[in-house]
């Protein structure tokens, strides 16, 4: 016997939670699936059969744009920091994306922690949803995760005919589940779907040798240097900061930025140490496959396949890893 929650009960439970928490869940409209915060009455909008969202849940901790604080020009200026008033629940986080958040944690929660990120992170509970039908581009199993990996969520739901097997992971979700309509039932855990493997082992070691290989320029030939890959990535976290003055207020704003955009490394005076297409593209892979691992231990990739799906010119991390491995020796 395992603890199971039926689809109907799940929705009514979320309906309850919505009264107390900000509930964020996958919703599909205009042909794109995105995480949206929904009210109790809107739970039916939730897309339970989504494969994965176009944009990762990182947005909820690291929004595309957030005001960090505001300075009001009174007689003496006063600083009003941004804060989160309501606790949040993210429903339907895929294990790969949960891992993405964990990877960002490494960078943002390492002391001195990023307060704005930390606050949101602490006030949020992740309800994971195991993958039954992964996308053909997925390769989470090759980068240390799996379709039903509970490691980085607070609660994992595994879909079965009988309903969702609830797998409690953290205390955080225990009290969340109190009074939740979870029943004992016969439910067989479905066998994990198998994924194509990508030879990611020891990639860092090869990366450290091939920095100057012309390969990067060749790949960059077709790169158009949009920021799509970085913005859909569940674990890319570069940003830009700027101050806004309007109506007597000064607001410090931070927004997403990407190493692929032209101005990213431009310095005062206009010089850009990373001005060539190749050097910019290379930076992306070196951060993911060498610098981040060197600093935090893990490859900065969750195998979610988003960049592979959305790249306008099919720059495919799986191909890159394969090619780099071939450069060994």
């Amino acid at each position: 016997m395992t603890k199971v929650i039926t689809k109907e009960d799940l929705l009514s439970w979320l309906r309850q939670l919505a009264e107390k928490y900000t509930v964020v869940a996958p919703v599909t409209s205009n042909g794109v699936t995105l995480y949206e915060s929904i009210s109790g009455s809107e739970v039916d909008k939730i897309d339970l059969s989504f494969s994965n969202t176009e944009l990762s849940p990182k947005n909820l901790f690291f929004p595309p744009t957030e005001a960090l604080f505001t300075i009001v020009q009174n007689e003496r200026p006063e600083i009003i920091p941004a804060k989160v008033d309501r606790e949040a629940i993210i429903f339907g986080v895929r294990p790969c994306d949960a891992r993405g958040i964990a990877l960002i944690d490494k960078a943002f929660l390492a002391e001195p922690a990023d307060g704005f990120y930390k606050e949101k992170r602490e006030k949020t509970t992740l309800v994971g949803l195991a993958c039954s039908a992964p996308c053909p581009e997925c390769f989470c199993t090759s980068v240390g995760s799996s379709p039903a990996d509970p490691t980085h969520v607070d609660l994992l739901l595994i879909p079965t005919e009988a309903g969702y097997i609830t797998q409690i992971v953290t205390d955080k979700c225990k009290q969340l589940l109190m009074g939740a309509p979870v029943k004992e039932a016969e439910a067989v855990q479905p066998s994990l779907p198998s994924l194509k493997s990508v030879p990611a082992e020891g990639i860092t070691e090869v990366m450290s040798k091939v920095f100057n290989d012309p390969y990067w320029d060749r790949v960059a030939d077709r790169c158009v240097h949009c920021n799509i890959c970085a913005y859909v990535c569940p674990c890319c976290y570069c940003f830009d900061i700027r101050d806004y003055v309007s109506k007597g207020k000064i607001e410090r704003v931070r927004s997403w930025e990407s190493c692929q955009s032209a101005g990213f490394t431009r310095i005062a005076g206009g010089y850009d140490p990373r001005s060539t297409k190749g050097s910019r593209l290379r930076q992306r892979w070196y951060h993911k496959l060498l610098y981040f691992p060197e600093q935090f231990g893990d490859i900065k990739c969750t195998g979610c396949g988003r960049c592979v799906r959305s790249c306008p010119v099919n720059i495919d991390i799986r191909e890159i890893i394969n090619d780099v491995q071939r450069m060994r020796a």
Binding site: S246, K247, G270
Partner: protein, 666 residues
């Protein structure tokens, strides 16, 4: 860091009566970078300006905002005020709180005050971004190009040359003189045209400061006021004018003849020719289109097809100085100039467009200018007036006015101004030639606006017994040896029919052929009839929109000789005034290109109305736009069309306009 001083003017009660100046000052004081805000009764008065000067020095201000009347009123004044303290005059901004605030909101002081504050805020946000600007100096080439060697061009050339400056006169015909040289006598004084013109022609030909280029055309002009560069095409004369003495043997002996353009087809000239006896230079050119030997050379060159032309070369054999040079080719000469005077004059309307008047098919229906040639002592008939068809002496002559003038149907709605008078002149002169001649003149109105013109017209009626018939004839047709003119006397409302021996059409004026092309070359504008357009019809009659390019004479519109002479002189005066300076000062409020941003799409090059933007290639092979500071007038068309904002306008930069807008929501 900007240190801004804001001076709010009461303008007596003009501003203070409506705007609460004290309140304005209070608010403005608080703005960032404003170190001083104060008010004064009359900012523009001497004490007012004095207090600004003191304030600038005392508070060591580096930006000044004056909230007062319109910048169109006192910007210049206050720039001088600011400059007198050693501060750059372009670090000033005017906030217009009178014309555009107090005067239009006198009904609501509160609203007016609030608006005044916002207007000043805008000015403050703009002045912060002002930069010191410095007018640039450009050298002037003190050399004038006169296009057209008619009476206008001659007058202009002589006046400029006599003022001590070099002149180059370009005339496309083999001789200068223009239309006036074709005239017999001039109205209303009836003095001989040649007698008053030729001395001037000779003066010009011999003037040490004037270089005369006949049989030449201006092909290209680039550059700007003070620094034009013109490409002039010297057509091949096949005669070396340095050797030629103009003895005339060649053109007397040349066997190849053709109808003379100068005599308007009434006489003949030879292949090697001077257009008329008093031509300047008095040296011939060879008309390669008919010269027998040239024909022969072409025949050889093109593989000897067809009949072999004679190897004439008579002129060469007879020439005492061996001036004939068959190998002389046309050449492109480039000259530098500081100013250009366009004096390309006019041509008469081609009456063959008038089918109702025979469409040029009747030899005895001639134009006024043709009659001039017939009456001229140096003309094809030696001054004897005869019918082109049979050489008979006409006894009845009918004149038709407004042919190619005041005629919508023919696309010539304008009045050619001179026809009324020259027709009267013709009638009077014909009577002098032969007292038995009876003249009839068909007219729409007789226009005699000019000194002694009306008297001259009356003289035609009283002394020459000319009969004036009001109305445009409907038809002219041949009837035996006579020409029948059908019309209606509009005054008595009866049809009239005149049987004449000779009909003279008073054809109107139209710009010389190619005037529009020349205008394009000079980037000057021209109207629908291809007359040049002056910069201002009243106040700048000889200037054009293009600095340094002047227009004079009949190329601007129908004019008579004294007017043309006056205009030639006027243009000369303008040119001399320009040349009296050593350098030109250019306004610094012009476009500048940020070369790092320019993507070389060259949209601005296409758009610039003043051809002020060209492009060059950088070391890294990039195309970039380049602004010519002397040509740029600072209109800002280019920056509005520049996608990456690579070009900007000093004094009205993108940043400044944006800041002005922004300031409204700060």
């Amino acid at each position: 860091m900007a240190r801004i001083g804001v001076f709010v003017c009461h303008c007596g009660t003009n501003i203070a009566g409506t705007v609460d100046v004290t309140k304005v000052v209070e608010v403005i004081k608080k703005l960032p970078m404003v170190v001083l805000a104060t008010d004064s009764k009359y900012t523009c008065s001497e004490p007012g300006q004095a207090s600004i000067r003191e304030a600038i020095i005392e508070n060591n201000l580096n930006r000044v905002v004056i909230a007062s009347c319109s910048p169109r009123m006192h910007e210049a004044t206050f720039r001088r005020t600011v400059a007198s303290t050693g501060l750059n005059p372009y670090l000033l901004e005017i906030a217009n709180i009178r014309e555009q605030c107090s005067w239009v909101h006198s009904d609501d002081k509160e609203v007016a005050t609030a608006k005044a504050i916002e207007i000043i805020k805008m000015a403050v946000s703009k002045v912060i971004r002002h930069e010191p600007l410095f007018p640039t100096q450009v050298e002037i080439t003190k050399r004038a190009l006169i296009i057209g060697g008619g009476i206008t061009g001659i007058q202009a050339a002589l006046d400029i040359a006599n003022a001590g400056y070099e002149v180059v006169v370009v005339e496309r015909e083999p001789s200068i003189g223009g239309r006036m040289s074709q005239l017999d006598k001039t109205f209303p004084t009836l003095d001989c045209s040649a007698c008053i013109l030729t001395p001037k022609m000779v003066d010009l030909g011999q003037h040490p400061k004037i270089k005369l280029m006949t049989y030449a055309e201006v092909k290209k002009v680039k550059g700007f006021v003070g620094n034009f560069e013109a490409e002039i095409l010297q057509k091949a004369r096949k005669v070396d004018h340095l050797k030629c003495t103009g003895c005339g043997t060649c053109w007397q002996k040349c066997p190849q003849k053709i109808l003379s353009q100068f005599d308007l087809g009434l006489g003949k000239r030879t292949a090697i020719y001077i257009p008329f006896a008093q031509a300047v230079p008095p040296k011939p050119v060879i008309d390669v289109s008919i010269c027998r030997y040239i024909k022969y050379l072409n025949w050889v060159a093109t593989g000897q097809e067809g009949k072999k032309p004679p190897e004439c070369r008579i002129c060469e054999k007879l020439c005492p100085t061996g001036a004939i040079t068959w190998d002389q080719e046309e050449e492109l000469i480039t000259e530098k100039f500081g100013a250009v005077v366009v004096a390309t004059g006019y041509q008469t309307y081609d009456h063959s467009h008038y089918q109702e008047y025979g469409g040029g098919a009747y030899p005895d229906v001639i134009s006024g200018l043709q009659l001039e040639r017939l009456m001229s002592a140096s003309g094809p008939t030696g001054g004897e007036v005869i019918r082109p068809s049979d050489g008979a002496h006409p006894k009845t002559v009918a004149f038709v006015c407004c042919v190619g003038s005041r005629d919508q149907q023919k696309g010539r709605p304008y009045c050619s101004k001179v026809c009324c008078m020259y027709t009267a002149k013709h009638a009077i002169m014909l009577r002098e030639h032969d007292p038995e001649i009876q003249c009839y003149i068909f007219y729409i109105d007789v226009r005699t606006g000019g000194k002694d013109f009306e008297e001259f017209y009356l003289r035609a009626i009283d002394e020459a017994g000319v009969i004036y018939i009001k109305g445009r004839p409907s038809k002219i047709y041949r009837d035996g040896k006579k020409l029948k003119i059908l019309g209606e006397d509009a005054l008595i409302g009866r049809p009239v029919e005149i049987a004449a021996d000779l009909v003279v059409l008073a054809t109107g004026m139209e710009p010389s052929i190619g005037a529009d092309e020349l205008a394009r070359i000079l980037n000057a504008s021209y109207d629908t009839y291809n007359f040049m357009v002056e910069a201002h019809p009243k106040l700048r009659p000889v200037e054009t929109q293009t600095d340094g390019v002047f227009v004079a004479g009949a190329c601007v519109g129908p004019r008579d000789i004294p007017e043309c002479v006056a205009h030639g002189g006027a243009a000369a005066a303008k040119v001399s005034a320009l040349f009296s300076q050593d350098t030109l000062t250019t306004d610094p409020l012009i476009a500048v290109v940020n070369q790092a941003r320019c993507i070389g799409c060259l949209l601005c090059v296409a758009i610039c109305p003043f051809k002020a933007i060209s492009y060059e290639v950088t070391r890294d092979k990039r195309l970039i736009a380049v602004v010519n500071e002397s040509l740029c007038k600072g209109c800002g068309l280019c920056m509005a069309s520049c996608r990456p904002k690579a070009v900007d306008l000093r004094g009205f930069t993108n940043q400044q306009i944006l800041d002005e807008v922004n300031s409204l929501w700060l």
